[in-house]
């Protein structure tokens, strides 16, 4: 199925004999076992509204991320949440869509400063499992009118309905970016990231990648120079300064987890209490890890068969998603188990929005 309008999608779902459907934007981010008929959302594209002076963008969910990026760049604007491109890591081809980005709440290094995708998301339209078209939120920055289903849809991975339109707050591109690069052991590197995030210098990236602590500042020229200098002084030790394309390349590498592209093991994504990061990495054997969000996000490679160990290591300190199973790990559930007290609520919500379990895939 490849609907080209919300109406057509509604009708298709109303008339659907049964599921499940595999919702698909560009096929670049789906994880876990996928079964059922493909519901291709790439036909639901199109830019509906772009107002650079109000920092707002409204697009059909099938709109290509790349198209949005080009559109915004022409006005020197961008999506604040720095969308990861995981095609290399996950071994996918395909064209990432905005609906897929939102459904995965895909958020990169700037999470520590500008929030996740969900924090930039102003409004959604979606069609639920009964074929009912629903609008929530809008196109304005501040909106507390009714319940916030916008947040509920972000990261819901298509389990409540099919996104047809998304409104986003965008941000101006900075004039300058500078990255402090310091060779450190993991412990010292993470301490430096914490120090940077506790400083008033408005850090927009704090990562540890292949033996290097990385701290980014962005903004107006004079301000960036000043903050980079102050951070260096405050954190102590040796720091090299990278800027421009060199800095951008460093952060693309963190964002897209370049360090683990081409690895053969299972790839895990852990979201944890930042101060727990070092202990968790050590407990899991200290292999190659990319640490972002000041310690709050860990990308790890493990040999197959380690799922229980990984999930035990994060218990009470966060959760782990299996992004790419190595041979032998295919039967491991990709998504982390929901906290016991919340399973009933989540299941009940899904039952309300998708009573026929069309999106159970």
């Amino acid at each position: 199925m490849r609907p080209v309008s919300e109406d057509e999608l509604s009708e298709m779902l109303r008339g659907a004999g049964g599921g499940p459907f595999r919702l698909r934007g560009g096929g670049t981010r789906a994880i876990g076992r996928m079964a059922g008929e493909v519901l291709d959302c790439s036909g639901l594209g199109g830019v509906r509204l772009y107002e650079p002076g109000a920092l707002t963008l409204v697009v059909g969910a099938g709109t290509a991320l790349a198209e949005v990026e080009v559109l915004l760049a022409a006005e020197r604007q961008r999506l604040a949440f720095e969308v990861p491109d995981l095609r290399g890591l996950l071994g996918r081809a395909g064209v990432s869509t905005m609906g897929g980005v939102v459904a995965a709440n895909a958020s990169g290094p700037r999470r520590v400063q500008s929030g996740a995708c969900r924090d930039s998301l102003l409004g959604v339209r979606f069609v639920d499992g009964a074929g009912m078209a629903i609008r929530n939120g809008g196109r304005v920055m501040k909106n507390v009118t009714g319940y916030d289903l916008v947040k509920l849809m972000a990261g819901s991975r298509g389990r409540l309905g099919v996104l047809t339109e998304v409104s986003l707050r965008v941000q101006a591109m900075p004039e300058v970016e500078v990255t402090l690069v310091g060779a450190r052991a993991a412990g010292a590197g993470l301490a430096a990231l914490r120090g940077a995030l506790q400083s008033p210098f408005d850090v927009s990236g704090a990562a540890f990648d292949r033996g290097r602590a990385l701290i980014r500042v962005e903004g107006m020229e004079g301000s960036v120079r000043y903050r980079a200098q102050e951070l260096r002084r405050r954190l102590g030790g040796d720091w090299a300064l990278c800027e421009g394309a060199e800095s951008a390349a460093i952060w693309a590498g963190v964002r897209d987890v370049a360090a683990l592209v081409g690895s053969l093991g299972s790839i895990w994504r852990l979201v944890v209490t930042p101060t727990a990061a070092e202990g968790i990495v050590a407990r899991l054997g200290g292999g190659t890890a990319v640490i972002d969000w000041g310690g709050g996000l860990l990308w790890l490679e493990t040999p197959p068969g380690q799922a229980e160990a990984v999930r035990a290591a994060v218990a009470g300190q966060g959760h782990a998603t299996l992004m790419r199973p190595a041979p032998g790990d295919e039967d491991v559930p990709a998504l982390p188990p929901e906290p016991p007290g919340l399973v009933a609520l989540s299941d009940a919500l899904r039952a309300r929005f998708d009573p026929r379990q069309l999106f159970a895939a």
Partner: protein, 477 residues
């Protein structure tokens, strides 16, 4: 504003309900004498008042759960209350309800600077959250005007904003987790020190659900390092249109001020007469504040000055020192008080796309003449969150109704131009019956389903948010 008729059967059981509550709470935590429940008859939407059946003031999550369990078993509606500062009637009781006030739960449970968070009991006031961490150089960003009094529980319920959310976001962007007590007494932990939910983003939907999904008793909040400094400028224009264009240009330039506040002439004049801040007598006035080190502030303000001057302002005033900065903010901060000196007022809260600002202000001016009621506009221009203040006289019969009709027209206009009914105050009872202007029956159905899941009997704050006709069958149970 209509409220559903209280259920006589519940009111008739008042002694039994009070007794059941006293069994699970200490004696001083249950109030049911009419002369004492009067203190809880309204919130900051004081045009509406109703004494509740009883008031409970629990001191712990366990006590909150006990209250809810009793009310759930006896089928009694519960109206949760933070500090009672809602401008939308979010904490307005009904005659057949038990008010659950969270104000006694105000302790700091944990501060964790390494993970940049604080865990508090939800009755703690907004400003005292910052108070708990400022010695270490941190602050809690959302800053509603009522921050001295308003509780975090209410902030979470209404997803409160403030003047500085252009840069830092609103409550939902600064909330990491909550302890939530469901109507049946079940206690759940949602979120935590980590930055992403493992399943559905339940925290996201609880924030802003106006106390209808559960009672938040504890909250984990993001704290941020305080900027080195901040400085405002004041820019006056002889046209709303030009002021609006200036706002747009500043936003587009890539500077991210922490606040861009807008006042129109009626508001400037009222404020000047009241607070004597020395504002220019002009059509529109912007207060723009930026943050950083002195040099960073200079760099940003130079840019803002260049943009502002290109729009031929009648005045551009930079604060040379702390005292002048205070004077620039003085008028803005006393705007509500100044309007209140003139008459009673109703404060609206619609949001519009920034580009629609001049049109909306012109239409509000025209409607003001049609309704014969004065209105002043003061609002957060950077994010289009308007606060028209409509003046009326509560002692003049019919004035409140006329004011409400005028307000409704303004909010419809906000929706018409692509905005929404409420940007930061919430729906409560105030905007409840206007929800159909913004939402289709399907949109509302989708939201009510969420309440069905969390509160199947519709006992928590049931007469709010949704038009009474839309929620009637659910509330009837």
């Amino acid at each position: 504003m209509e409220m559903p008729a209280p259920k006589r059967a519940i009111i008739g059981r008042k002694p039994a309900i009070a007794a059941a509550l006293r069994e699970v709470l200490p004696a001083d935590a249950v109030i049911d004498a009419p002369e004492e429940t009067r203190a809880y008859e309204c919130d900051a939407l004081s045009a509406y008042a109703c004494q509740p059946l009883a008031v409970t003031l629990p001191r712990s999550t366990a006590e909150v759960a006990a209250v809810l369990k009793v009310c759930h078993a006896m089928g009694v509606p519960v109206v949760p209350r933070g500090s009672g500062t809602s401008l939308a009637g979010g904490a307005l009781p009904t005659a057949d309800c038990v008010v659950l006030g969270i104000g006694r739960m105000n302790r700091v449970l944990e501060t964790d600077y390494d993970n940049r968070l604080i865990r508090v009991e939800a009755g703690r006031t907004n400003l005292s959250v910052t108070g708990a961490v400022e010695a270490e150089g941190f602050f809690y960003a959302p800053d509603p005007s009522s921050q001295l009094a308003c509780a975090i529980a209410g902030n979470v319920a209404m997803n409160s904003g403030g003047a500085h959310c252009l840069k830092y976001g609103v409550t939902t962007n600064n909330l990491l987790g909550v302890t939530l007590v469901q109507m049946d007494g079940t206690v759940v932990e949602i979120g935590g020190p980590w930055m992403e939910a493992p399943g559905l983003d339940l925290l996201g939907v609880i924030c802003g659900s106006e106390g209808q999904l559960g009672v938040v008793t504890e909250a984990t909040l993001r704290i941020l390092p305080k900027p080195e400094g901040a400085r405002p400028v004041l820019v006056g224009f002889d046209s709303n249109e030009v002021a609006g264009a200036c706002v747009s240009d500043i936003i587009k330039s890539g500077i991210l001020p922490v606040a861009i506040e807008f006042m129109d002439r009626p508001c400037i004049r009222a404020t000047e007469a009241f607070a004597k801040a020395g504002y220019p007598d002009c059509e529109a006035l912007l207060i723009i504040e930026v943050e950083g080190s002195p040099a960073e502030i200079d760099e940003q303000l130079a840019r803002i000055r260049a943009i502002a001057l290109s729009h031929n302002p009648v005045e551009f005033r930079e604060a040379a020192d702390e005292d002048q900065a205070k004077r620039i903010w003085l008028g803005r901060k006393s705007a509500f008080g100044a309007m209140g000196q003139i008459n009673d007022y109703m404060c609206l809260d619609g949001t519009i796309p920034v580009s629609a600002l001049p049109y909306v202000l012109r239409r509000i001016g025209e409607m003001s003449a049609e309704f014969g009621l004065d209105v002043g506009n003061v609002f957060h221009a950077g994010d289009g969150n308007m606060h028209p203040l409509i003046l009326y006289n509560a002692n003049t019969p019919g004035d409140l109704e006329r004011c409400e009709a005028f307000g409704a027209e303004i909010l419809k206009l906000c929706v018409e131009v692509g905005g929404c009914l409420t940007g930061e105050h919430g729906v409560g009872i105030e905007k409840r019956d206007l929800m159909t202007v913004q939402f289709s029956p399907e949109d509302l159905e989708a939201q009510m389903r969420v309440k069905d899941v969390f509160d199947p009997k519709w006992l928590l704050n049931p007469a709010k948010v949704f038009p009474l006709s839309a929620s009637e069958s659910r509330r009837a149970g």
